[in-house]
């Protein structure tokens, strides 16, 4: 049923740290790999070795430049995948009931056996989180690795989404955002996590943590006092040595 649940038992989602992301795209590749081999239809590629390769990806990394009014510009790498919105417009537009939001954990999924590939859910998503697979003709989207997070055949440390497991920078965090004590909720709280396009009223579950403002050369470094020369003029034994060496022929330093 494409009605949205009034409330979900848990609210699983991602917290993405824009301060830490280095834009390496490792999450993109691990996502593609895991989701091609596991849940649902594989993520196809068209002309993968041709001049204009195209393929289905559930996670993509953009790169932006933010130019403040004063000072130098800042580069921000920006991973983007399904935000598993609480008020997901992609679910309610679905004519077949293939798109749904799970009551137990809030994950938005597509039942690929019922999807007719009309594409309307992708139209309704402001984030570009859904892609119609060109080979299978069904809608693909992030499953929050539903086939990993509950998979007891995997070692415990692997029971998290593939992108989170892979990120070498630790920029991606997974957890229950409805629990104020969870690590992800604490991160959002302490770092001022924010929503993308809040004006759309989608109430995204995934949050983004802002990048730190860029340092300036004028800023006082914490290490600066330690780097000061300890004494301008050598004293003691070094002072005697300095003077003694100066007296030797060959000129002064």
């Amino acid at each position: 049923m494409t009605d949205l649940p009034a409330k979900t038992d848990r609210t699983l989602g991602l917290v993405i740290d824009l301060d830490t992301c280095v834009g390496c795209h490792a999450c993109v590749i691990s996502c593609k790999g895991w989701n091609t081999e596991n849940y649902g239809a594989p993520l196809s590629d068209q002309r993968p070795y041709g001049t204009e390769p195209m393929g289905t990806f559930l996670n993509r990394v953009h790169s932006y430049e933010v130019q403040p009014e004063q000072g130098s510009a800042q580069t921000v790498h920006f991973p983007k995948s399904c935000l598993h919105c609480e008020n997901a417009p992609c679910v309610t537009v679905c004519p077949t009931g293939a798109s749904y939001k799970r009551v137990e954990d809030g994950i938005v999924l597509v039942n690929e056996d019922h999807c007719i590939g009309c594409g309307l859910c992708a139209w309704a998503c402001p984030y570009g989180a859904r892609e119609l697979d060109q080979a299978e003709g069904v809608m693909k989207k992030c499953t929050l690795c539903v086939d990993r997070i509950y998979n007891e055949n995997l070692p415990e440390e692997d029971q998290i989404p593939s992108c989170v497991r892979t990120c070498p920078a630790g920029a991606r965090h997974f957890g229950d955002l409805s629990d104020p004590k969870s690590d992800v909720s604490q991160l959002v709280e302490s770092r001022g996590g924010f929503d993308l396009m809040p004006e759309m009223g989608t109430l995204p579950v995934n949050k983004y943590l802002p990048p730190r403002l860029k340092d300036s050369w004028d800023d006082q470094s914490l290490l600066a006092p330690l780097l000061e020369p300890v004494a301008e003029e050598p004293q003691g034994f070094l002072g005697w040595l300095d003077k003694a060496l100066d007296k030797l022929p060959g000129g002064t330093a």
Partner: protein, 290 residues
């Protein structure tokens, strides 16, 4: 938005077909026998042809029947259900007019209401989308309904009604274009809100996720033909409204009537092409392409 030919054909033809069915349904002295057969055959060819065409863009047309299940939440599902019911009621009405030469008024009225509601559901598929500010307005249903009613009146030979409704549709079309051009900037959504970084400065897309265009870019960031948009608007306006009205004002002849209808259909198709091609989906912001 990518202007998929199947969707343009669908919305052009089925809008006209259901418009014609509406006027046939409410006609107190409807045609009977062979004349009724011709009118209903045209209406069904347009509406059913349009509906079949709309399944061509589906990834899995064989599962299209599933789309009838979610009428409680989905406008697309409502469209399917409403279209089938409209065709069913109007079909019974047609049978009684053609073969029994009997006017079952109630059947016609129910069928007419369902036909109009079908056009409304089509328009709501677009008007509900927060993601396309140009479409997200009550003017979109007004546009679709006025086009359908005007086209239907034209096809059913209601000359005075057709002229009046063409003028009304022309006004809606004009206002819809005027509003649409400022809709994205008025919506307040930009790359700043999309990334949440707008308060820090001007955000610029520096690198796309991939070197080649993907499904999102092809489906949502259609920019081909934008430079001809103004010209195409004038052509659409002339063909949809001006030429048919002139033909209708001249003394009646079958040649003029056919010219009026063909011109109107070509104009509506052009207008619908612009409806999609000019629509800016907010996902384009992430690609720095707005």
């Amino acid at each position: 938005m990518h202007p998929a030919p199947s969707v343009i054909v669908f919305s052009t033809l089925s809008g006209l077909g259901f418009g014609l069915l509406f006027w046939l349904g409410i006609d107190p002295t409807p045609p009977t026998g062979l004349t009724a057969f011709v009118f209903f055959a045209i209406a069904y060819a347009l509406s059913v042809g349009g509906l079949i065409s709309s399944t061509f863009h589906l990834g899995h047309p064989e599962r299209a029947w599933r789309a009838l299940s979610q009428w409680r939440s989905s406008w697309l599902s409502r469209e399917g259900v409403s279209a089938i019911l409209a065709l069913l009621f109007m079909g019974l009405h047609a049978i009684s007019l053609i073969f029994l030469e009997m006017n079952a008024t109630a059947l016609g009225l129910i069928g007419a209401a369902l036909s109009l509601f079908t056009v409304f559901t089509t328009s709501m598929i677009y008007a509900q989308l927060e993601t396309v500010p140009r479409w997200k307005t009550p003017l979109t249903p007004a546009l679709y309904l006025s086009f359908s009613l005007a086209g239907g009146a034209l096809l059913s030979g209601l000359v005075n009604m057709a002229i009046l409704l063409l003028v009304i549709a022309a006004i809606f079309q004009f206002i819809w274009w005027q509003r649409g051009d400022a809709a994205l900037s008025d919506s307040g959504t930009d790359l700043g809100t999309a990334t949440g970084l707008g308060e820090r400065g001007t955000v610029r897309s520096m690198a796309h996720p991939h070197t080649a265009p993907n499904y999102l870019v092809r489906e949502f960031i259609y920019v081909i033909g934008r430079k001809h948009a103004q010209k195409l608007r004038r052509i659409a306006f002339g063909l949809t409204f001006v030429l048919p009205i002139i033909c209708l004002l001249l003394p009646f002849s079958h040649v003029l009537a056919i010219i009026a209808v063909l011109s109107h259909v070509a104009g509506v198709a052009t207008s619908r092409w612009l409806f999609f091609a000019e629509a800016e989906h907010v996902v384009g912001l992430y690609y720095g392409m707005r």
